[in-house]
């Protein structure tokens, strides 16, 4: 995406949790930024769409699941973990993220070419390398009690 002015980039993440309390993470393929890092499904908010429709579309495209219900867990913009250097973009990218917990979904996991591997993980056994922005979003989803986090 080519921005006329570098602004904070709005993005969404989905913490998809199965009944065994494991979360779905994807290993980023060589087709996308930060290849070889594990991350949550998600992506840039698409101009002309809204937070939830972007969440549903990114989940559907990347891991093939249909989101039935998504709850806002938190909004994130801590530059320590949301400003990421991207060599191919040639600059540091600055994200502000809305993260949604998805426990109600349909379908079977089927990934697209942005993903080279996929798996379900327990909170205390997350894979590495994990994209630096993801840890807090995952742990917030586990402790979420209905009140959204602002970080």
């Amino acid at each position: 995406m080519n921005f006329p002015i570098e602004r904070p980039r709005a993005a969404v993440s989905a913490v998809i949790m199965n009944p065994e309390k494991k979360v779905l993470l994807t290993l980023r393929s060589s087709k996308v930024w930060w290849p070889g890092q594990w991350c949550l499904p998600g992506g840039h908010l698409r101009g002309g769409q809204d937070w939830l429709s972007t969440c549903r579309e990114e989940v559907s495209e990347e891991v093939g699941l249909e989101v039935v219900k998504a709850r806002l867990v938190g909004i994130y913009s801590d530059p320590e973990v949301n400003q990421l250097w991207e060599p191919r973009a040639g600059k540091k990218l600055s994200f502000v993220v809305a993260s949604f917990l998805v426990t109600d979904y349909r379908g079977e996991v089927k990934v697209n070419d942005e993903v080279s591997e996929v798996g379900w993980f327990e909170l205390d056994r997350l894979p590495t390398p994990l994209l630096v922005s993801e840890k807090i979003k995952i742990s917030d989803a586990f402790r979420f009690d209905g009140q959204a986090f602002v970080r």
């Binding site: 921005f3 006329p4 002015i5 570098e6 602004r7 904070p8 980039r9 709005a10 840039h44 908010l45 698409r46 101009g47 002309g48 769409q49 809204d50 937070w51 939830l52 806002l72 909004i75 913009s77 801590d78 530059p79 400003q83 600055s94 502000v96 809305a98 209905g146 009140q147 959204a148 602002v150 970080r151």
Partner: protein, 151 residues
């Protein structure tokens, strides 16, 4: 049609002891002059969401927000995409907004040059003309009971 680019932004909802909400009228120096709106503005690169809300509120109306809670997250393109391209860049902005309900603040209201009037309003009886995305935010902040509105 011009490209649409999401622009992260913040609003604050401030209530007086009569549960009336503070609105400002936009001066001739800003986009959509003469319309009433909630305090707010763009989030800066590398800025925490809440810091952006505190900063914009301080700048526009001179009060210091001491405590605030996230009550809404907005991006509905039918309400948030600018009608005219933002110049000189030529794209249309889509304001993707976190709304904070202010629970306590310090100081007296001293608006800056972006504001030519301000007042307290019953959320069920808002003034006209008003930014079209803002009535729902005023009502959401008024009715907020712990679950963040995502629209």
């Amino acid at each position: 049609m011009a490209q649409i680019i999401p622009i992260p932004a913040v609003n604050t909802a401030i209530f007086n002891e009569n549960n009336e909400i503070l609105l400002t009228r936009r001066s001739a120096q800003v986009r959509e002059p003469g319309k009433w709106c909630l305090p707010g503005g763009h989030l800066e690169v590398g800025e925490f969401w809440l810091d952006g809300a505190v900063r914009e509120t301080q700048e526009e109306i001179g009060i210091t927000v001491k405590q605030a809670i996230l009550c809404g997250l907005y991006s509905d393109p039918t309400l948030t995409v600018t009608q005219d391209p933002i110049q000189p860049e030529g794209y249309r902005g889509q304001f993707v907004v976190a709304l904070f309900k202010v629970l306590s603040f310090e100081g007296d209201i001293h608006p800056n040059h972006e504001v030519d009037d301000w007042d307290w309003f019953d959320p069920n009886n808002l003034p006209e003309p008003i930014l079209k995305s803002h009535p729902i935010r005023c009502l959401d902040a008024f009715h907020f009971n712990g679950t963040v509105f995502v629209r």
